[in-house]
């Protein structure tokens, strides 16, 4: 519990630091009209969206890892993110001016990818970790090819914005995106936390969980559905930011153990911290130019993950 408090304080500190840093240097008080607009219309919305996206991806990762009893289960590796990305692209192409179409189609894409991966991974003998990861890889690469094909078919000017967006980019934050992603992640975090006890029992084994009266089917539906929802909303707003769903729950489990009643909500907060920090680097490292945030999370995430794997 104390760690929870520490994490919350840390989140607030990180949000404040992120608010103070940016391509433009702003004084602490006495802003001009323009500086006020930079802070309120550009910087703060972007930071808030980063926090929502980070929380979304981390909570989805924590839920999927517990449900599938697989530490590699992660929205990106399982193809859920790519499903959402493809859905968003379809939204871009077919309903260009309807912003709300993107999260809806992203959600549909995420759900479809999840169902396919789950069906492929499940055999009569149950679901092995290898089979699941393999299915995820197959679906991910298949969807990547479809996305590459679509970008090739779109004309050159739009190609540039898509390739940037595909890597994860928070620069296109809109209040709609923040609201959709924020409300979704808040609800899903509460729902998944409410299922944490059942998830704990299911981690021992689904049969044991059934003996304890856990409605395994319902839990599965809630976790898959919840993960698809948050990932859909996050990807529609910011593209595919990788590694967050993998690393953050791992870090959380390393520090507090694997009780999902804590892992799920703590992952949400830690994910927000991770992405806001990564995006602060993306915004400032080569200012006035920008890096895509997904490149930063991958650059930090991949070595960190290798380190964690080797240490355990």
């Amino acid at each position: 519990m104390r760690l929870g408090l520490v994490l919350l304080v840390l989140l607030i500190v990180v949000l404040i630091i992120a608010g103070m840093l940016g391509a433009e240097r702003l004084p602490l008080t006495g802003w001009t009209e323009q500086q006020r607009s930079i802070l309120l219309d550009i910087r703060i919305p972007r930071i808030l969206l980063g926090a929502c996206v980070g929380a979304s991806l981390a909570v989805a990762g924590a839920g999927l890892q517990a449900l599938l009893r697989n530490p590699l289960a992660e929205p990106y590796l399982l193809g859920v993110s790519n499903g959402a990305a493809l859905g968003t692209m379809v939204g871009f192409v077919l309903f260009q001016n309807v912003e709300a179409a993107r999260p809806v189609l992203a959600f549909a894409g995420a759900v479809a990818a999840t169902i396919v991966v789950y069906r492929m991974a499940k055999s009569r003998a149950g679901m092995s970790a290898e089979r699941l990861v393999l299915s995820g890889v197959i679906v991910t690469t298949f969807l990547s090819s479809v996305i590459v094909m679509l970008t090739t078919l779109l004309d050159a000017a739009r190609l540039r914005s898509f390739t940037f967006w595909l890597l994860g980019d928070l620069s296109q934050s809109s209040s709609t995106g923040i609201w959709i992603s924020g409300v979704t992640v808040a609800i899903v975090t509460v729902v998944l936390t409410s299922q944490a006890r059942s998830l704990n029992l299911m981690m021992i084994g689904e049969r044991d969980a059934l003996d304890f009266g856990v409605e395994v089917g319902r839990v599965r539906l809630l976790v898959f559905g919840g993960a698809s929802l948050v990932v859909g909303a996050a990807v529609a707003a910011s593209g595919s930011v990788g590694y967050v769903g993998l690393i953050v729950p791992h870090l959380v489990r390393l520090s507090i153990g694997s009780d999902n009643r804590l892992v799920v909500p703590f992952s949400a907060v830690a994910g927000a911290i991770f992405v806001v920090l990564a995006d602060t680097i993306a915004r400032t490292a080569i200012a006035p130019r920008e890096l895509p945030v997904g490149a930063v999370t991958a650059l930090v995430g991949a070595p960190l993950f290798i380190y964690l794997l080797r240490r355990n």
Binding site: E24, I42, A157, S161, P288
Partner: protein, 298 residues
């Protein structure tokens, strides 16, 4: 220019032997090309425009899917796009020379093309001076020097008759028509926000039109710009490279003088992005947009 008759040195796939000579391209490579070039493949829209400008357009047998100007270019066989040309299609067209604008695909290209006896010539013009040089080079290798010189002279005449002008393409200042430069933001894409940076050839065009890019100190040719920086730039004029997703200025310019005074202009993306003869059109339009008062009595 070196002329080298090298009959017998190499065999063209058709079995016919052509007289060759050596020319130097924009990368400083010495390229053997046939003295008489009948079949040309162009791998860039700007190069296609330049080939037509020197009067060799009727010899083009293959162009990219983006080569939409002049109109005759649309009827020519397509060989893919600049970044993904189809090698088989190119070889099957039996060109004497393939013209490319970038060095990116050179290595893989040269090997296959040379194995098939096809020359590869790089022409990568930067700004108006580069366009003139490219037109001259193309005129030389196609034997249409006269037409190339006429085209260059016409373009130069239009350039020098601008009613407002700060520097010529050669970097000389022309005081009689110079006006204080207008601060311009060139928006390449609205979301994500891309603009022109230090390495863009458009800086020269803007400067000549008595303007100055507010992002001319930012690294690279087409940087993705922080919206915070954009909001603080306060450009007097915004020029949009007109394309489907770039019809309005980015929201971060809401309070800029350009938006407040309605000084946002659209210029056809093809015209300002291609270093070809129409770059003079871009120069004229930019000069007019930046200094409309100088064009009043015209």
């Amino acid at each position: 220019m070196l002329f080298a008759l090298a009959a017998g040195c190499r065999t063209a796939p058709t079995g016919t032997q052509k007289a060759l000579r050596t020319v130097t391209d924009d990368l400083g490579r010495h390229v053997s090309v046939p003295v008489r070039i009948d079949r040309i493949v162009s791998l860039a829209p700007s190069v296609t425009e330049n080939v037509f400008a020197v009067g060799a357009g009727d010899r083009l047998v293959g162009v990219t899917t983006f080569c939409n100007y002049p109109e005759q270019a649309q009827a020519i066989a397509k060989v893919g796009d600049t970044m993904n040309p189809n090698m088989e299609t190119i070889v099957a067209l039996k060109p004497d020379v393939v013209l490319v604008s970038t060095a990116s695909q050179i290595e893989a290209f040269t090997k296959t093309l040379e194995a098939n006896g096809i020359a590869l010539f790089v022409t990568d013009p930067v700004g108006l001076p580069g366009v003139y040089k490219s037109l001259g080079d193309l005129g030389d290798i196609f034997g249409t020097t006269e037409q190339a010189n006429r085209a260059i002279a016409q373009l130069k005449a239009r350039e020098s008759s601008l009613p407002v002008r700060c520097t010529t393409g050669d970097g000389l200042s022309d005081d009689s028509r110079a006006l204080p430069p207008i601060r311009v933001f060139v928006q390449i894409s609205r979301e994500p926000l891309f603009t022109i940076g230090k390495q863009s050839f458009l800086n020269g065009v803007l400067n000549e039109a008595c303007g100055r890019s507010v992002t001319d100190a930012v690294e690279t040719a087409f940087p993705k710009l922080s919206k915070e920086t954009a909001a603080a730039l306060n450009p007097e004029v915004i020029i949009l490279s007109d394309s489907e997703d770039n019809r309005e200025p980015n929201d971060s310019f809401r309070s800029s003088p350009a938006v407040k005074n309605g000084r946002v202009y659209r210029i056809n993306a093809d015209i300002i992005s291609r270093p070809g003869p129409r770059l003079v059109d871009a120069l004229e339009q930019i000069a007019k947009d930046l200094h409309p008062e100088s064009f009043k009595d015209k």
